[in-house]
């Protein structure tokens, strides 16, 4: 997709996420809306992952380590053709094939996530395996910022640089909010850049709701330099819906009928973010 198409696609995704969460009666809409531009650029412009090459060795790999943003991932995968978008309507229903956290049974999902702090380690394993296989594929892991309090993230971070996994690219959805409140009050995550640099990573920092900036950063991250790369994506939780933006209560809340109407109006008529 071209950049202007990506902006359109982000708008479409936000509306689809709103509908999905509203009809499912549950979901992590705040984090979905902060991460969806990242997923959009990854799937629709940067990653070599399609329904057609899913079983082909050497394709890229993606792990949504912040598995609670499942709705954003499912909408992205449906848009990519991994399954019909009508299936999104089953979310929240008994026996749904689209559980509230990503599951490998969902077409296009590579890892069971939802328990935080596993994804980067899985990514390290995939990057090690693909380097041994000499495929040249990239491994992408998207984490939340609250997730960075899990100690296992840092076990993986030190292993990735120790093993010079230059084709491992981590993206942190730095929306600065978690379920109990601001990350800096719950468990401070700053200074992010220094922390990752101290662990031997190349660090890039961008506006994570700007598809152009995400695209540029990923292009830089894909130029190998002997170390893994982390992109600190400064995002807005609830991005695109005025009354959800930067409000921790929208971490996991379902809009009322009137809130849904207002959000739908904003997402349909508003200008794209950034």
């Amino acid at each position: 997709m071209e950049l202007c198409e990506l902006k359109q696609e982000s708008r479409r995704l936000r509306r689809q996420i709103l509908d999905t969460v509203y009809h499912a009666g549950g979901g992590h809409i705040g984090g979905d809306l902060s991460v969806c531009d990242i997923l959009n650029v990854l799937y629709n412009r940067q990653m070599d992952i399609t329904p057609q090459n899913w079983n082909t060795p050497g394709r890229d790999h993606f792990i949504l380590s912040k598995g609670h943003a499942a709705e954003a991932l499912y909408c992205t995968l449906a848009g990519k053709g991994f399954f019909p978008p009508e299936r999104l309507e089953s979310m929240g229903r008994f026996g749904t094939g689209l559980p509230g956290h990503p599951n490998r049974k969902v077409p296009g999902v590579e890892a069971n996530t939802g328990s935080l702090g596993h994804g980067l380690s899985l990514g390290v394993g995939m990057a090690l395996a693909e380097r041994m296989n000499q495929t040249g594929s990239f491994v992408y892991v998207v984490m939340g910022d609250g997730e960075l309090a899990e100690g296992s993230v840092w076990e993986a971070a030190m292993a990735a640089s120790h093993h010079h996994l230059e084709r491992l690219i981590a993206l942190v959805d730095r929306n600065r909010l978690q379920i109990s409140g601001p990350t800096e009050q719950v468990m401070a995550q700053d200074p992010q850049q220094k922390r990752w640099e101290a662990f031997g990573w190349r660090v890039l920092e961008i506006c994570g709701n700007d598809v152009g900036a995400i695209d540029q950063a990923l292009t830089v991250a894909k130029t190998p330099m002997g170390a893994p790369t982390v992109i600190l994506c400064n995002t807005v939780k609830g991005c695109g819906v005025s009354f959800m933006e930067n409000r921790p209560e929208w971490h996991h809340r379902v809009p009322s009928a009137s809130e849904y109407e207002q959000a739908a109006r904003e997402l349909s008529g508003g200008e794209e973010h950034a």
Binding site: H61, S115, S121, L122, G125, L128, S152, A159
Partner: protein, 311 residues
């Protein structure tokens, strides 16, 4: 006493397979020495991954490699692997049906003198609770060798616990028909059944010899595979003999005794006695001393079985 420990036999089998199988990889958490895997790291450095003292990462990295077609064997002391990395084993290995073989080294009270932090007496309960996770406790070098050949070929998750020191031989050669989910009858008997796993199978064999002196013929079963569990063998024993005594290097909850009692309960009236380590932090001492202290001995097993037979 055999010269090789089971962990050394594991390394030998990995070395034999790695030359032809480039997807075979070994991962350690600063455990290549204690797992006897240093020869593998030296000979196949491109198929060896060191992850440092980080068991959670060890297990998830192994899972990530398996999802990309590798066949990882991840080795770490059983005490840490079964507790600290349990969630990684559950989500990333078991739920994902990732072809990861987890090798718990120095299991049970192998590290007896090092104290309670280094004892692993909950690992059977922990790993058998994970869907799709097979659990193996081979009793000697021959069985370890046969089991490794099997695990090197298959594509499903497994946990394998081995002891630190060379195990006494139960078998004279590799058991021929080693099948997961099927106990091996080490000795036939019609009066009472003794069931062991891992290090305690040799004790059960000794106890059967003691019972024979008293005219009691004890059946000895080697439950090398705790999951899938051979409930049928237990129910046969419940029908054909007058009682079952289990002996295990594990706490009572969720171990061999509990599995046998659960299976035997479907054949009402058969008594099951369990000799196990207690549900408590254990005393420190050598493996033999700890076994003696808690009654994991041939004499105690024989006495318990004799009381059961004589009512």
């Amino acid at each position: 006493m055999p010269e090789c420990s089971n962990r050394e036999i594991i390394c030998q089998e990995l070395l034999k397979a790695a030359g032809e199988d480039r997807d075979l990889v070994v991962l350690c958490s600063d455990s290549r020495g204690s797992a006897s895997l240093a020869p593998f790291a030296e000979r196949f450095p491109s198929q060896f991954v060191e992850l440092g003292i980080a068991e959670q990462n060890l297990v998830s990295v192994a899972a990530g490699m398996a999802l990309c077609g590798k066949r990882p064997f991840a080795a770490s002391p059983a005490c840490f692997l079964s507790s600290r990395a349990l969630e990684q084993a559950k989500v990333d290995v078991a739920y994902s049906a990732a072809n990861v073989k987890l090798i718990g080294i120095s299991g049970g009270v192998s590290y007896g003198a090092l104290g309670m932090t280094h004892h692993s007496t909950q690992d059977i309960a922990a790993f058998t609770s994970l869907p799709g996770m097979r659990v193996f406790l081979p009793c000697d070098g021959h069985e370890t060798q046969a089991l490794m050949k099997l695990l090197l070929k298959d594509g499903s998750p497994a946990y394998l616990r081995v002891s630190r020191s060379p195990s006494r031989d139960v078998y004279e050669s590799e058991p021929q028909d080693l099948t997961p989910g099927r106990m091996i009858e080490v000795r036939p008997g019609r009066d009472v059944t003794l069931i062991g796993c891992g290090e305690t199978v040799a004790i059960a064999k000794d106890a059967a010899a003691l019972l024979k002196e008293s005219g009691i013929e004890a059946r000895v079963l080697d439950s090398f595979c705790l999951k899938p569990f051979d409930g049928a063998a237990v129910r046969r024993a419940a029908t054909e003999t007058r009682g079952i005594v289990t002996i295990e290097e594990h706490q009572p909850q969720g171990g061999l005794g509990a599995l046998c009692a659960q299976a035997a309960a479907r054949r009402g009236g058969c008594p099951v006695r369990s000799i196990a380590l207690p549900d408590a932090p254990l005393i420190a001492g050598s493996q033999r001393e700890v076994f003696d202290y808690y009654g994991l001995t041939a004499q105690n097993l024989a006495d318990t079985a004799a009381r059961l037979v004589r009512g």
